[in-house]
Structure formats: C-alpha cells, structure tokens
Symmetry: none
Subunit: 192 residues, 4 copies
DNA sequence: GATGAATGAGTTTTCATTCAT
DNA sequence: TATGAATGAAAACTCATTCAT
C-alpha cells in the first residue's frame, strides 16, 4: 500500500475513535507503519491530513452517488438508485461516512474541502428542483429538502454506531420508504 | 449571572466556533469574565465543563420536548407538538442544538452524558412503538425511525448554519410535512 | 530579578556561547530559573527573545554613548568622550557588546531591531559630517568612516575575546589614538 | 564544476542568507545540484561543510594577502600592497569575506579552522612588530593593532552590505588613508 | 472565594543523516 | 558512485492545571 494511503487510512480510524483534536501525529504514523517525519513528506501538516482525508472521501461519495445514473427513469426510481448508492457507500465505508459528518464543521477544514461538500449538495438540490417542476416532489427549498433527507440517513447510521452494530446490508430497504415519502408529492408516495 | 452559567455559556460559544480540542481553558475563562482558576472551583476540569454543558442542554432539550405534552390527542397531532417544540428549541438555542450534535461522539463525554442522550431517544422510540401498534406509524425499528426523522432536523439546521443564516421562525412549518410523512403509515399521511 | 530580565540575561549568555541557532529554549529557561513555558508568557517566541535582547542592548549602547555629551567642545575632545563611553560600555558589558556585533546580520532580527541599529549609525554619521564641514575630520562618506572606526573597536574586542582575556580598563587609552587618527584631518591628528 | 566545489559554493550562499543554523542540508544539496546523500560522500556532515568552507576561504584570503609581496619596500608601501590585496579579495568575494567574519565565533568551527584564523593574524602581527622596531608604526600591542585596522575593513564591508550595495572597486582608495593613519607613527602618516 | 502567573507534560514540526536502490 | 525517500531524535511551542496571593 502506498504510504500516503496508509497514512490516510490510519488517520481515518484514529480521528473517528479519538477525534481529530486528541490524535497525536506520531500515533497516526505508528498506526500507518511509517516514521513520524514521513507524514510531513506527504502532507503539509496535521491539518493537511484531515483535509486530504475529507476531500478524498467526499469525492468518493460524490462519485459513488452520481456515477452511471440513468436519468431517463421516473424520479422515484432515480431517487431509489441514488439512495441505494448512498446506503451502499455508507455500509461499505462506515468509518469514512461517519468521518464526513463528524468533521463537516471542523474549523481545520480549508476552502477546498468546504467547496467539494457544497458542490455535491448543490447538484442534488438541482435534481430535486427538476422533480419539483415535474410534480413528483413536493414544494419547498430544494437544498433544505436534500439536507433533511440526507440528514435522516446520517441519523440512522449514527444510531447503528451508537449501538455498536455494523450497518446492515439492507440499510437502503429499511430507510428508502421514509426517505422518499419525506420528499414525494402526495400522488407519488410509496405505499409499501 | 452566576459564574458557572457564565462559564458554560462562554464554553458553548467557543466550542462551537473553535471546536472543543482547540479551545484553551483560559480563553473560556476570559470570555466568561472570570479568572482561569475559577473554572476549577466550579468544574473538575475541561472535560467536566463539556460534560456539564452537554448534560445541561440535553436535559433542556428533553424537557422542552416532553413538558406539557397532551398524550390524549391523535398521533399526528402529538407528533406535530413534539416537532414544534423541537424546532422551537433549535431556533431559540441554535448554538446549543448544534453543540449537542457535534459533540455527540466526543471521546471526552462521560457515561452520564451518554446516558441522558440515550434516555431521550428511548422515550421517543417508545412513543413511536405505541403509534405503530395503533396503526398510525408505519412498520420498522422505532429507534431507527426516531434517528432518521431527528437526523433530518439536524440536517436542516446544519444547512442553515452552512449558509450563515439564522434558523427561521417557521422552521417547523417548513419541515413538519416531510418529517411526518417519513413516519406515517399510508392512510395517516399529510396532504399539504 | 524580574523574570523577563532573567530570561534575557540567560539568553545573552547562551546565545554568545552556543550561538542563537543551537540554543534550545528550555536551556534558556533553566538558566533563567523559570519554566520553559514561562518564556512564552513574556516573549512571542524564540525570535521574540533575540529581538528583545538586541533592542534592549542597542538602546543601552546608544544611551551610553550619547547621554550627557557636551557638544560645545572641540571635535577631538567630543570624539574622545564618545570613544571612552563606547569602550566603557564594551568593558562593562562585554557579552552584550559582542552579541550586538555577532547578531547584527541575523535573519531572525525584525524591522524594529534593524531600525534601532540604523538610527545610532546615522546620528554618529551626522556628527562626523559636521566635523568634516569644520575641517577637523578628513573627507569621505561619513557613514563609512563611522563604520571603519567602529569596526576597529569591534575588532579589538574580538581579539581579546579570542585570547580568552577580559577587556582591560584602559581599552580606550589603547585604542583612542588609532581611532582618532583614522578620522582626523592632517592638522588635527594626535601626536602621542 | 566538481561536486565538492558546487556544494561549498551553495553552502556559502545559503549560510550567509539564512545563517548556518537555519540552512537545511537538503537545501544545500538542491542548490548545488546534487542529491542530499552526496554531501555525505564529500564531507563528514554539516559541520564538515562549514569547516571546509571556512578553511578554504581563510586560506584563500591568506594566500591573496601574502602572495607575491615585495618585502624590501618601505612599510607604508608594503602595507598599501596588503591593504589593496585585502580590499581586492573582499570586493571579488564579498560573500566569502562576510562569511569569514560572521562565522568567526561559530561553536561548530573545529580546531583546524580556528588555527588557520590565528596563523594569519599572527603573521600580520609579526610584520607590524618589525615596523614598530623600525619606527614606522606607532607603539602598542601589534595583535591589537592588526585587530583594529582589520576590524575597520570588516566594518566598512558590513556597512555596504547593510545598504544593499556591492563593494566598490575603489574600496582600497576609500579606506587606505584611515587604515594607515590608524597604525602609522606621527612622521609616517599620509597627508591625503 | 477568586485570581492569574507560572508550570511542564505533551503537542506539532523540522531536519541531519542513513541506506536501499 | 550517486541518490533521495525515509527516519526519529530533538526542536519550538501550547495549554490544562495548580497554588501563592
């Protein structure tokens, strides 16, 4: 494994377990199997590590959600596709998904990291706005709807984490109905 | 203002702005208008401050949600009452509401703090379970439903925060329909 | 002794013995009889210490040279007065005098420190320019003459230092003739 | 250019700009156009580099001063020859000349380097002692006289450096009168 | 009780040096 | 022989906590 990847993986684990503030850099190094100084060859400093980590996973999340989406389908089906990808991503990378939420407001995140986060939100809001015009999604500020439905998924993953349980493979099945009904206009709601 | 309150208020502000890890205790003291040593007369240490802060606000939130709830009404109305109280609390105490979420997983929280958090979740889940038995809420693990709907509110408050906008007075109106439809069984859904 | 003075005195000793670059801050603290952290209460950092030290002694030197100078006397006598003050300062504070020279070009000196150094040079050059107009000092760029004659004193103090000998009380007597003849116009030279 | 010369040249530049203490070895290597490890093939370490540098230039200075000196001339003329050589050396190698002064007291200089420095001083002092016996130079400790007159030259080169100006080609003309008058016995002084 | 100057343990970071290639 | 990535020892600096006033 390349050293920068090893460092980011170690940092992800430790930042989630101990929090960013109380993870000493040498501990990240040890966990990554490299010398403490090596971290500074790959990243400009501790903040550089969090930001690289945040951007890496936020981009991975964005890619996972958007890649290969068939936009010709009805809204409910496209949404289901997105939701399944989101849940799949969270299940496959629970620590990374949690990390993205926990550190969303970290004062150590730089403009680049914040920018990536905003981009994803905006493109989702754009999709919702289309569906609102088509009548399949109810009225309301699309960015807030995205925030509410996405926040719901975050809440569920947190609940599993609080319980000490892994995210289940059928996470999407458990949550899709609530998620879609939160958004859908009356005639487009799910019945089962 | 009593000194312990002044200290907690200052800590709330600073922990939200700078994060717990990078807020020096002397800065909290300065902001609170007391000497650095004084903090140690009222709290056992920095961790004591976060925990007191967390418990204070989590209890305030629980009280705000539950107090004076009329349980004889139909589920949809009770839920609306709870939701309005929740939104009212978040609007009135946005920093505290954000703090509770941001620090939910802090490794510095002690058993007492975690316990309070769990209690509130559980009592909400109990209510939902009742409503499931009565047919007004759809099937599913009640704790996860609570987590999903509550996570939605957290998501919306974050979105406002990201925008740099205050939470609006009609926050509940904006979000209640989505929130209830996320939970409700088909025949109990809101139409507008 | 006030702590900041103790710190500066310890720093002076150590910077002269070990050089600025190889003096660890904790060693300065130990020598000053304070904790390592205390240095950062009084100075913004290691560079803050050198700069404070430089400014303190450069100002002391300027004061020692200029204070109570009787400008109504003939040039040769005024110069002798200045020279005796300079030599007296160097003899009384040999480490400080050496420090000022050794660190004159240190890249860690800030604008404030450089400014003080320049001020003293300029006021001496102004005096020389007067004497040139009066015919008692030979022609030439006054700033360079100041640099040459002052450099001579620095050279002599270095020579004593290299020998491991203290500066002698009659340093001025040993050097005044050469110093003045370096500057004087032919008819004003010293004969003994 | 041979690699060891490239390394020494790079080191000279950097040590003068950044000081010895804050010049990283890898930066010297980069500037010299070699790999960091290569420096350790030519020198035993960073201290080895400064010492080689010091000795190289101190020897070059000694050679420049002494080579081809016609000792049969009168003292004033021999001195003028030496002074012109000194000034020529400083003008041709200003960084090296400054380096020799700046690092004169560096605690990283070894016995070899200090020895070379002392040798040059002593041979100059010997010359002065001869001239004292012949009556052309005034009385006084010859080593101190050497130190004073040489210090004057150092002071002047510093002054140019402080101004950000290159040393002028007529440096010797500007300074020879002062230098010789500092040393000369009354009847041997220069008149213009 | 209240203070805040002082501390030193624990951070982040740098960089001379090594050694596998 | 030359390299430069990797290292870890040592540096600068921060800050939770104490305690004399």
């Amino acid at each position: 494994m390349p050293k920068d990847t090893a460092i980011l993986d170690a940092a992800l684990d430790l930042f989630e377990t101990l929090s960013y503030g109380s993870t000493p850099v040498p501990l990240v190094a040890e966990r990554a199997g490299v010398g403490a100084g090596t971290i500074y060859r790959y990243f400009p400093g501790k903040e550089g590590v969090v930001n690289a980590l945040y951007q890496r996973w936020k981009q991975a999340l964005a890619a996972a959600v958007v890649d290969g989406l068939d936009r010709s389908q009805p809204a409910a089906l496209i949404f289901e596709g997105i939701w399944r990808r989101l849940c799949g991503f969270a299940t496959a990378n629970p620590a990374a998904f949690a990390f993205l939420e926990t550190h969303h407001h970290g004062p150590y995140l730089d403009a680049g990291s914040r920018g990536i986060a905003t981009d994803l939100d905006r493109s989702m809001a754009g999709l919702l706005a289309e569906w609102q015009r088509a009548g399949s999604v109810r009225a309301g500020d699309p960015q807030l709807l995205v925030a509410q439905v996405y926040g719901g998924l975050v809440g569920v993953t947190r609940a599993y984490r609080d319980r000490g349980t892994e995210l289940p493979p059928d996470l999407a099945d458990q949550t899709i109905e609530g998620a879609w009904n939160l958004l859908a206009s009356p005639s487009n709601r799910r019945r089962s």
